[in-house]
Assembly symmetry: C2
Homo-oligomer: 224 residues x 2
């Protein structure tokens, strides 16, 4: 029997996963949010995640993923390496990249989900703002879904509400779901650890801001 009432959301406390959490809240009776503590540079990310779950009344689990830090030391997990805030020009991932990190998150979310007889796993990955992360591509997600189902003899269903929409449309979706202010003020996307509108200068802030401005402009023009 398919469990249509419950879902697990992979939740970082950023714009995308918060929008997914709002989406899940609309579509399921019970939602579990799962976050990963991998000694990320900005512990504040987890604080934001906790606060958002509290506000949305969502059961929140934080898994200790320190192993990831042992294995792949890099700029987002080690405080002694400076974040390169300039976007790479050659299409390579920024130095905030941990190889296979997203695959690790999905695998542990699946183990967590199966224990609760939950098959639907929601993740905010998007191919539209694909910035060189191969494990955010749709082809990876589909292959991962098959592999998980084979590994655990279970009918997992990985759902990616943001796969084909860009940042502007993500803002629009959050607004439609009644979470525009929550996403704007409570989420953390900024590489420099400033919540809400952030520092405004790092690649993550620029991408977010560009989408926000485009959405606000569209919204205003529609209303006028």
């Amino acid at each position: 029997m398919r469990n249509k009432d419950e879902a697990v959301v992979i939740f970082s406390g950023g714009q995308d996963s918060t929008t997914c959490l709002l989406w899940a809240k609309k579509n399921y009776k019970k939602v579990y949010a799962i976050s990963f503590d991998y000694n990320q540079r900005h512990k504040k990310e987890l604080d934001c995640a906790k606060e958002i779950c509290k506000e949305l009344n969502v059961e929140h689990h934080i898994l200790d993923m320190d192993l990831l830090n042992q294995l792949a030391p890099n700029s987002l997990t080690r405080t002694d390496i400076k974040v390169d805030t300039s976007a790479p020009t050659d299409g390579t991932p920024p130095n905030s990249f941990v190889d296979g990190r997203n695959m690790v998150f999905i695998l542990f979310a699946a183990i967590f989900a199966k224990q609760r007889k939950v098959s639907d796993i929601i993740t905010g990955v998007s191919q539209s703002d694909f910035s060189g992360y191969p494990d955010c591509r749709d082809v990876f997600i589909k292959s991962m879904n098959v592999t998980l189902n084979l590994a655990m003899e279970f009918e997992f269903n990985i759902i990616t509400p943001l796969m084909w929409i860009d940042k502007e449309e993500t803002w629009e979706l959050a607004d439609k779901l009644g979470g525009f202010e929550l996403v704007r003020n409570k989420t953390l996307t900024c590489y420099n650890g400033i919540e809400g509108d952030g520092c405004g200068n790092c690649p993550a802030c620029k991408l977010r801001k560009r989408g926000l401005e485009a959405y606000l402009e569209k919204k205003t023009s529609v209303h006028n």
Copy 2:
């Protein structure tokens, strides 16, 4: 450029992975053995693994996988649950099962391997003594290989020397590789934590013993 000189072996210190380690030693210039510490019931497993690597002069890494224990408490990782030493009769996995455990091991071995520019990953899974573990099947391994390659944009090559051979043939392979005595005396397979020939009564010991006796009989008859 394909790295044909190095390989990573997923290594538990048991009969199968030790045979794989011997196989890798014959086929590569440099071999990394990787073990996982997930608070398994028998810490001795890791001691055996260490000793074998020392004897074979193999670089050995032990990764802390305590998270697995947090997520999937069961009889091999929790000392307060008795191991059910009778083989289940309905084809279901014994209660020593951690869902998706093998997938976790392969994923972390892959992350470890890519960091060293190593593409070949060797694991001792076998479909012949398939005891209900879906992530030991060949179809899972092949799907996992594709998913890993997509996730990390890398040409991993998962090699399973034991996939289609049974315990008798595994003994034969170890013997051909010059490791019969090492495998017989230094490995730990027994659910009750006794190395070498083990307790003789648990399903793992029975399977091992049956294969050993069949191989010794064959060897004797061939020599006579």
